[in-house]
């Protein structure tokens, strides 16, 4: 029921992935096998060969069993591609796969806000696919994950953005003020200016998205 209302409008657009642009490798020393592999994967992704990129990430994930980033990206590609998938069978297969990789990544890195957000986005994919069926249970779970992620990383602009965007949809529908969420978006944009990913290949997307939302919904 809540389905049609909020979710479709908001979240279909929410997950436009911006390519990881800062994958440039420190050129001081020869790149390691890991760096080469990750670079290759991001390159494929930028060339719109996302499934091949996912395959490379999966290979790295199998080899690097204590690094949460490769499984995170395998899951992210599967989640993002699910938003446009209309075939329920494929959707389930992809989201099951994404869930497995999120589980793997979570086992390596607990209470990781980026993984919590990805999990919330996975639930959102189910809601977008069939709100009547999944809206009721998954929207509450997603809300909780966003809150938890924000509590863990109150100054991470990507997390601020993700939560604000989720909250904005419902507010828009009921004609409530977007003011508080616009403030959050602005704060995210300000923080993005100085945001440094915690390490090489760490997620760094979001700035463009935040500016788009600001241009579209705030002022």
């Amino acid at each position: 029921m809540q389905n049609v209302i909020t979710y479709l409008t908001i979240f279909l657009t929410a997950l436009v992935m911006q390519a990881q642009t800062d994958s440039a490798v420190n050129t001081e020393s020869a790149p390691t096998k890991y760096q080469q592999g990750m670079q290759k994967a991001f390159q494929l992704w930028q060339e719109n060969k996302s499934w091949e990129a996912a395959n490379v990430f999966e290979r790295i994930a199998v080899a690097e069993t204590d690094n949460w980033l490769p499984p995170y990206y395998v899951a992210q590609i599967n989640v993002i591609n699910s938003f446009t998938e209309k075939d329920g069978t494929k959707l389930k297969a992809q989201l099951d796969k994404a869930q497995n990789f999120i589980n793997d990544a979570t086992a390596i890195s607990k209470d990781n806000p980026d993984l919590l957000v990805l999990q919330a986005q996975l639930y959102t994919a189910w809601i977008v696919y069939d709100g009547q069926q999944y809206g009721m249970t998954y929207s509450a779970k997603a809300s909780e994950l966003y809150s938890k992620a924000l509590a863990l990383a109150p100054d991470n602009p990507r997390i601020i953005l993700a939560k604000a965007e989720w909250d904005m949809g419902g507010a828009k529908y009921f004609g409530q003020s977007l003011e508080p969420y616009c403030k959050d978006i602005q704060r995210a944009i300000d923080l993005f200016a100085t945001f440094k990913p915690a390490g090489e290949f760490y997620p760094s997307y979001g700035e463009e998205r935040a500016k788009q939302i600001k241009a579209k919904s705030c002022n």
């Binding site: 909020t6 499934w51 009547q132 069926q133 009721m136 809300s143 966003y146 419902g170 529908y173 009921f174």
Partner: protein, 717 residues
């Protein structure tokens, strides 16, 4: 220095250090069709490739010796080959389809599921509560499914020609002994439990698993939520009462509580009904679910207490002053279960329930006091050998201790029984391929009361006939002991028995579902007696039998019409039986030939509203006309009911809800009561058995308070 040389050599002659081996081959499915996009790689190394349009792959590696090649692709089972990589060329790798997929056939004969866990849901979680006319009673929503009979004055589930007590209800796999709140003639019963604590419902109208016993016709399985979404408080203010709920979460545990108070007195002042209420219906109830994660295990404890009280005078043709009826019921139910994943794909489930029911009934001068103590204990083990073979087995125990104290000015009696049933079951799920699945089970039960052992085989089978369609067959034997109305007088009986034969066709695609099911149910060993009502002197026997056969159709579509979701159910039923004190085989008064339900929900975005509509049609039901020869030989006129509801979202967390049951105030006659004695002309006078009120109006305001400001109670209405 040494390092420098190394680096130098490495740069110029990499092959000196890393002899490159070429690995190549083809990835196919089991039918020989190439798979495009499969991930082929050496485990633990970075080397690998993606198969092309022709399923071909080829890559170089510097690894040597024995390695493991992994081939994986979404919706197929990953395959590994361990061998010397020198031999890994021109490989032909066949991937088996993963049967843990939506495309895999499911055994659908006899059962409807609602919830997230089922692959194909006939009802969605919200339907339980947003169906017009049901007022949040989960049983009401199920009555819009085929296979059920409209018995408006009763409110319980009547399935495929079966009496209401032939359906058993289970919460988290554990039996509920008293699922309905008590009521009196012509006032429909409601399910005791609030729908918002459950997230999965399976309703089986026949051919169910060997795990479930003591049900001749049907089982209804309710699962409580494993983990609530978030902390919140729910407040409801209604024209008939109010409720308050709260959910609290901690790191590994959570608690949900809900309390409700219903009092119909103000409502009857505004809309008097046909009964003369001395004490209008009043009920107070409380429910709580506690969940705790312990490692890989989950412990759930559910408890519910409710007390109902009312007193009224009902019209009675044999008593000009009317029949006096009063009732006071206190019911406590608790249920605890623990599930844990063990090593090697074993899962263990243990659980139990205890019910204490205390009912005081006054009918005219008679006072009846019932006390029922019941318990159910169950232990179940599951072993998943692989995705294609799963074995379940377990044992359970049902204990009922029933005492009745009957008192009227002329007569007093103490009645009761102690009933102990032990059962064991085992069942195997075998999935041959995505197209073919089989479920084989057997159940044994021993009744201490009857000193009788019964064995029930159960088989079901499903075959996928096309991409979106499938055919299922089911057969099973089912046993059930007579209920307390009989057991309190005798134990010299045997279990009653049914056999189900079911054939089901299901088509499901693009948010449209069509189901057709034909069935035959054979009744044996039904309990008979020779008096108008069973009593101490009655002669009880297992002489009864009967049959029920028919066709159930279901169609649901939320695709064709924009913002409209609708379903249509139709049931054709042909049934006759000889049981109780029937002189001949006849169609019982709770069964009719045709039942039709149409339910539609229309979402109006601009109004932030959902309008719900439902239409129920039931052809006439049988009654005995004392003025012509015969037994259950006449039929009432048909039943018609159109109900509407409107849910308006005031804000994200506030909902206004209005509903009208039986909009056109159709006068539905449920049956007739005849005078005990004929008048001077030899004619027996009769009166219509009408519902207490033709219409029911309801207005409610629902408010949810949660941190995120999003959740609301729409799902609970």
């Amino acid at each position: 220095m040494k390092i420098l040389v190394h680096t130098f050599l490495l740069a110029i002659f990499p092959s000196l250090f890393f002899a490159q081996t070429n690995i190549s081959g083809m990835v196919l499915d089991t039918k020989g069709v190439p798979i495009y996009g499969a991930n082929v790689y050496l485990e633990g190394a970075y080397d690998g490739s993606t198969s092309d349009e022709n399923g071909k792959f080829s890559f170089e590696t510097s690894e040597t010796g024995v390695q493991t090649l992994v081939v994986s692709y979404v919706s197929f089972e990953a395959t590994k080959i361990t061998e010397d990589i020198a031999k890994m060329h021109d490989l032909k790798i066949q991937l088996r389809e993963d049967v843990n997929s939506l495309e895999t056939v499911t055994i659908s004969a006899g059962s409807f599921s609602a919830g997230d866990n089922s692959k194909i849901s006939v009802l969605k979680p919200l339907d339980i509560v947003t169906t017009a006319g049901t007022l949040g009673d989960f049983v009401g929503a199920l009555q819009t499914l085929p296979g059920t009979t409209t018995v408006a004055e009763d409110g319980r589930l009547f399935v495929r020609g079966g009496d209401a007590d032939e359906t058993q209800i289970f919460i988290d796999g554990i039996r509920v002994f008293t699922p309905y709140s008590p009521t009196t003639n012509n006032v429909p019963a409601r399910g005791r439990y609030s729908p918002f604590l459950f997230d999965g419902i399976t309703f089986s109208t026949g051919g169910y698993s060997a795990e479930y016993g003591q049900a001749l016709s049907s089982v209804l399985l309710l699962n409580t939520i494993d983990e609530p979404g978030q902390e919140k408080t729910d407040i409801a203010l209604m024209t008939v009462g109010g409720s308050l709920g709260h959910t609290e979460k901690w790191k590994k545990s959570s608690l949900s509580v809900n309390a409700a108070y219903i009092n119909l007195a103000p409502y009857f002042v505004l809309f008097p009904d046909r009964n003369d209420w001395k004490k209008p219906f009043e009920t107070a109830s409380g429910e709580a679910v506690f969940r705790q994660r312990i490692g890989d295990g989950l412990l759930k404890i559910y408890g519910a207490f409710d007390t109902s009280d009312f007193e009224l005078t009902q019209e009675d043709i044999n008593n000009p002053e009317g029949a006096q009826f009063k009732l006071n019921n206190k019911n406590f139910y608790t249920n605890a279960s623990y599930t844990k994943m063990l090593n090697n794909n074993w899962t263990i489930f243990g659980g139990g329930s205890y019910t204490l029911g205390n009912t005081k009934i006054g009918i005219d001068e008679a006072a009846i006091k019932d006390v029922e103590n019941s318990a159910h204990l169950k232990l179940k083990l599951k072993k998943r050998f692989n995705n294609r073979f799963i074995l379940n087995f377990g044992a359970e125990q049902f204990i009922t201790d029933f005492d009745e104290n009957y008192n009227d000015p002329d007569f007093a009696a103490m009645l009761g029984f102690y009933n102990n049933i032990s059962a064991a079951f085992t069942e195997a799920d075998i999935i041959f391929s995505r197209k073919l699945a089989l479920k084989l089970g057997v159940r044994g039960e021993y009744s201490e009361l009857f000193k009788e052992f019964t064995v029930s085989p159960r088989v079901s089978f499903a075959y996928k006939t096309g991409k979106n369609s499938q055919l299922s067959l089911a057969y099973g034997d089912f046993f059930q002991q007579p209920d307390s109305d009989v057991l309190k007088f005798t134990n010299k009986l045997e279990a009653q028995q049914t056999q189900h034969y079911i054939m089901n066709y299901q088509y499901s695609a693009n948010n449209r579902i069509f189901r057709a099911e034909v069935y035959r149910k054979q009744y044996n060993n039904l309990v008979t007696y020779n008096d108008e009502f069973p009593n101490v002197n009655s002669n009880f026997q297992n002489n009864g039998d009967g049959y029920a056969q028919g066709l159930d159709l279901f169609w649901r579509d939320n695709k064709t019409l924009k913002n409209i979701d609708y379903w249509v159910s139709y049931s054709y039923l042909d049934t006759e039986r000889k049981y109780k004190n029937y002189p001949v085989e006849a169609t019982p008064s709770f069964a009719n030939t045709h039942n039709l339900s149409v339910v539609a929900k229309y979402w109006i975005n601009d109004w932030k509203s959902q309008i719900g509509f439902s239409y129920q049609y039931g052809s006439g039901r049988t009654y005995t006309d004392l003025n012509t020869p015969g037994f259950l030989q006449n039929k009432t006129k048909s039943y018609n009911n159109v109900s509407l509801n409107w849910a308006y979202l005031l804000s994200q967390q506030q909902i206004l809800y209005v509903s009208v049951n039986n909009v056109f105030a159709t006068r539905n006659v449920n049956g007739y009561q005849y005078a005990n004695t004929a008048d001077a002309n030899g004619n027996f006078a009769r009166r219509e058995l009408l519902p207490a009120a033709d219409q029911f109006f309801f207005v409610g305001f629902f408010w949810t308070i949660s941190d995120d400001g999003k959740d609301n109670q729409l799902d609970n209405l």
